[in-house]
């Protein structure tokens, strides 16, 4: 399918610039007395597509919340776009995990996307803002124009996801954080969402952190993978990270990475059978 995405910025990919958009050094986070992240180090470059992979509870969402300035680091430092993290940074776009809308929610998709432009502004609202060029551009970019005038609650989970993505894009972010955008999607839509996000990342030159618990839908699409387990993290190209020796070291117990027909299976060394 031909991408209708506009070129609001010159494409950066595949020759990514060396400019750093986010950087963590010796980052540790303790939440309610429990260590969640320990000595995490990475730096993300402009325009880069990074998959953030790890099992449930590994600290993926916590890491995003640190980058958003919602959770302060317990130790170490984090810089985003050359500055210390700060809540409400308009240069970061963020799509939270899927939320459920009440059936009677009385707002069109288009209006919800427009909140990404003026949802943080005070003062009397301006009618007609939902028709603005920025909103329409973002709707086109995520291919959601066809259902943008429907009430949000009537749409499927995948359609709502695209609208949330559009809402994050209208602020023209340089860094896009997506928390589990593949949850609740069927296998085919997963691939569509990954392709869509990669296209947007390339055309708009936005660095993307794409959180998932399974690496398979992202194979071949990501520039690097940031793998988290046990509160620790490793980063690198997928072939250097998704390997038995690297992941065994990260998890702290033997892990097998099995490759078959373009898929990978990450499994414990002694199998999943009962003993």
């Amino acid at each position: 399918m031909q991408s209708p995405i506009s070129r609001t910025r010159s494409p950066v990919h595949p020759q990514m610039s060396d400019e750093v958009v986010a950087e963590a050094s010796h980052l540790s986070v303790v939440l309610r007395g429990r260590p969640v992240l320990e000595d995490v180090n990475f730096s993300l470059r402009a325009g880069e597509f990074v998959a953030l992979i790890g099992p449930n509870g590994a600290g993926k969402s916590t890491l995003l919340r640190v980058l958003l300035g919602l959770i302060p680091p317990t130790a170490g430092s984090v810089r985003v776009l050359g500055q210390p993290v700060d809540r409400g940074n308009p240069r970061i776009g963020y799509v939270p995990q899927h939320q459920t809308f009440y059936e009677s929610t009385p707002l069109r998709g288009r209006d919800m996307v427009a909140l990404g432009v003026d949802g943080t502004r005070y003062g009397p609202p301006t009618p007609g803002r939902a028709q603005s060029a920025t909103v329409q551009q973002a709707l086109d970019d995520v291919r959601a124009t066809a259902y943008a005038d429907m009430p949000v609650a009537r749409l499927s989970g995948g359609e709502q996801q695209r609208l949330m993505l559009a809402q994050a894009l209208v602020g023209n972010p340089e860094l896009l954080l997506l928390d589990e955008p593949l949850a609740n999607l069927d296998i085919r839509s997963r691939r569509e969402v990954v392709d869509l996000v990669r296209d947007i990342s390339r055309v708009r030159g936005i660095a993307v952190v794409f959180v998932a618990h399974d690496v398979n839908p992202l194979l071949g699409c990501m520039d690097r993978v940031l793998y988290i387990a046990n509160g620790r993290a490793v980063i690198g190209p997928q072939d250097q990270i998704v390997r038995s020796d690297v992941l065994s070291d990260l998890f702290g117990f033997p892990v097998h990475v099995i490759r078959a027909e373009g898929h990978v299976l990450v499994s414990t060394a002694d199998g999943d059978e009962c003993h």
């Binding site: 308009p90 939270p96 929610t105 009385p106 909140l115 943080t120």
Partner: protein
Amino acid sequence: MPLTEILQYEFMQNAFLAGTIVAIVASVVGYFVVLRHVTFAGHALSHIGFSGAAGAVLVGVSPIWGLLAFTLLAALAMGLLGERLEGRDVAIGIVLAFALGLGILFLQLYTAYASEAFSILFGSIMGISRSDVALSLGIGIVVLVALSFISRPLLFMSMNPIAAEARGVPTRLLSAVFLLIVALAVSEAVQVVGVLLIFALLVAPPATAMYLTPRLYPALSLAVGLGVLETWFGLILAYYTDYSVSFFIASAAVAAYLLVRLLVWMGVIGNVLPAQAIEGSLGS
């Protein structure tokens, strides 16, 4: 023309003025109450207001001051006790229980005028003075200005709470401010429909409007139109029949709501665009 006959009396002029102001304010605030799913908070605030009004009568001042004091204090307490959805209803219920307990005590201490309690519970729009109207107007202006000032962040955090928080919207502070706005609107509406029928003006018109359109401004205008028409309907019928205004307003509000839901269910109307409009945008 029956309206000219009705409006030659000053008490009816005052009733129409206050009723119209209150209907507009309650419908607009009610839109956000329904959107944010805090109808229980609205319900609780009106009942807490009853205790305040009873207390005001006890110490010999106008019930509206007791209403304002109690609902504003309660809104502040609710805002401080819990912002998250899971804890909110419990926090509200606890504040409500305490306030109603006080209300019962106040009534026991001051048993002379049962009619005062009756008018707080069911409204007293026909007995409203010109200065009450001026006060209603003042409160109404404060409410609408405050609400319009925070309307965009409030809408954002009501639709996408987590994204709004990440974008820097002070969600905790704004939900407390919104509860204060609801407290003011409720105190005002109690004068017209009373504590027990507050939903007739606060919840029914916006809830009805939301079934008719998914667009913000049309929905707000529809809610206001419904609220005002239902109030006028109640006042006119009460004038000619001598039955309670609140009864007629509540009946009209419920009838409109049920009618709209029935028509939506039958597929005659709905808050979706016609099919051809959707096909048109697909083709473009």
